[in-house]
Symmetry: C2
């Protein structure tokens, strides 16, 4: 199959790398230098006026020119299926004109903080969801072709409508980004000594606050209605919370306690709905906390010995706080393996700080 990729930034070039062993890839970019770079990286061959017509066009331009580029491609290649990979789908679909039956939207959930061809990676899509967004007149063979491409790069195709997609990403991606940034913004004026008290919780909440402002302004601009709705629901809860906390402060009573408990408790319910590692319902893990001296080879020894004990680590985090000579590794395992792991590690001289069962 001949696949033309228009826009050879991070996603376009990564797609070229992932697909070039399987298909004939034509690369096109508003900047010929950028297309040449993608070619040098092995993502395919630069398209020319002599190139044969493609069977599939993947538009991987910045989102604000995606619809225009889709329309040009539908006209230029009247037999091709056309998709785009923009992170918002309703605004693109609304502007697609002629040949709509050959258009199917896409959103591979494989962003990263860096952009550009040089950051491209053929493995970028492995194991990630790839949302396929057909509309009422999309041809079935067009939908199938886009799903096939998703699977060929190792992603999991998921079919959703444009509005459902945009609402979902507002909730699980766009609003969490903005809230993380709002929390981090409160640190701008913090006395330095207060930041020395920062623990793992603050670090987790604000990790994504280092994202690119220009990129995120463009993303939010493509999805303002759903984002505004969710932000307003947060503001309404925040208003109640502030009322409760101010009541505590001013009347020196505990009558505001319920408002705090309600927010935390609703948060408990919400976070428990995030699917576990292998999809479906949240998996219940046990976590074994092990102290790890901060010197070379200790993590290696920990994992070698974990392997010897025969336990599979499902997830793993290394926690630390300021000025700490010892790290704390959190090893998530199947609950039945927690005790054998803890016992085995202690036999081998490790300090197991604790074993915790995650309750859902």
């Amino acid at each position: 199959m001949i696949v033309r990729i228009i826009g050879t930034g991070l996603l376009g070039t990564s797609l070229g790398l992932a697909l070039s062993g399987r298909h004939e890839i034509q690369l096109e970019d508003a900047s010929p230098m950028t297309a040449a770079l993608a070619q040098d990286l092995g993502a395919g061959l630069q398209a020319s006026t002599d190139s044969p017509a493609p069977d599939l066009v993947i538009v991987a331009t910045p989102p604000d020119v995606a619809a225009t580029t889709v329309n040009s491609a539908l006209v230029a290649f009247p037999h091709a299926i056309v998709t785009d990979v923009a992170s918002v789908k309703e605004i693109v679909l609304a502007e697609v004109t002629g040949g709509r039956e050959r258009y199917v939207g896409s959103h591979p959930m494989a962003g990263r903080e860096r952009s550009g061809a040089i950051a491209a990676d053929g493995d970028l899509f492995i194991g990630r969801p790839w949302v396929v967004v057909p509309h009422e007149t999309s041809r079935p063979d067009a939908i199938d072709m886009v799903k096939r491409i998703a699977m060929e790069v190792g992603a999991f195709p998921m079919e959703m409508g444009a509005a459902a997609h945009d609402s979902a990403v507002a909730r699980v991606s766009h609003v969490p980004q903005l809230m993380s940034s709002l929390v981090a913004a409160t640190l701008v004026d913090a006395p330095p000594s207060s930041l020395d008290l920062a623990g793992q919780g603050l670090r987790d909440v604000t990790r994504i606050a280092s994202s690119d402002p220009k990129l995120w302004a463009t993303i939010i601009a493509g999805n303002p209605a759903f984002v505004a709705d969710i932000l307003c629901s947060i503001r309404s809860r925040l208003d109640s919370l502030i009322d409760g906390v101010k009541t505590m402060a001013e009347q020196n009573t505990h009558t505001g306690v319920a408002s705090v408990a309600r927010v935390i408790s609703d948060g408990n319910i919400g976070v428990s709905r995030i699917p576990g590692k292998h999809g479906g319902a949240p998996v219940r893990y046990a976590t074994v906390y092990v102290l790890v001296p901060d010197k070379p080879g200790e993590l290696g020894r920990l994992f070698t010995e974990t392997g010897q004990i025969g336990v599979n680590i499902e997830d793993l985090t290394l926690e630390h706080s300021a000025a700490q000579p010892v790290g704390r590794a959190a090893l998530s395992v199947n609950p039945s393996q927690a005790k054998p792991l803890a016992d085995g590690l202690e036999e081998r001289g490790w300090t197991v700080a604790s074993v915790e069962m995650e309750e859902n």
Copy 2:
């Protein structure tokens, strides 16, 4: 030295475990059963009416009875130094009456989600900050004694005033907890398919949203004024942000872009102020992303081979999303070691997805 620990929950029992090799520990709790459990765990011996008077009393009761307990101890043991470990300090200090010169507040930054003696751990304080909170009439030897105890359990004593402490924890702990819960609460009504799109960002932002509502209501009740101030500053920024996003939605223009970019950009500045692993200014790390097949022994092999390459891993996260057969390990290393590590791993057959330099 004779140390009496009043309140044998998580912190009291952990302190007993950490100090019992070095001092004579007396254990006391409103529930004698709880004190007996702490004794069985090895945290010291239950206090009786015959017990000799202690040199130091550590009050580790729930925060709402800390001040009363401190006052009783100052009366009962007229020669003892008295400290408490409550997570807020102004309200305790305000209620301490006679013998104030023998009182010094404390806050070991070593909380965890679980509570109770059974979760206790003598290593709980290792490498954590321990805030020592003297007041204008605290005796110098009292301050020194509390700092010494902090160091004996492996913590790093940091001296701060009560108001500075309460303001700091509002900012780096209490408000981030509430905001994480507010984000998680938006997931309560989310369609299940939207949650399938959840990535690592949402998981990080909402990790602490699984905390205990009752515990947190008590913590916030002890620090409402500082918490309300910071929540109000967030609401004011949120108001501007919502105005900007609504402008985008209603007028279908990009005039709201600046409000989004400003929030993200302020967040960039804030998050860059969080100290790095070893205190002081943020350390610049490089991150090597490696694909790890989801089967036993693979992490062990990765770390063994990292050790063979001779590189020290500073921090490490395993990323995954729903239904993923392959994990992505993020290995943070000194920037000078990134390339040797990536090359060494590829020579040994690993897929290095990318190498990223963290910019501060």
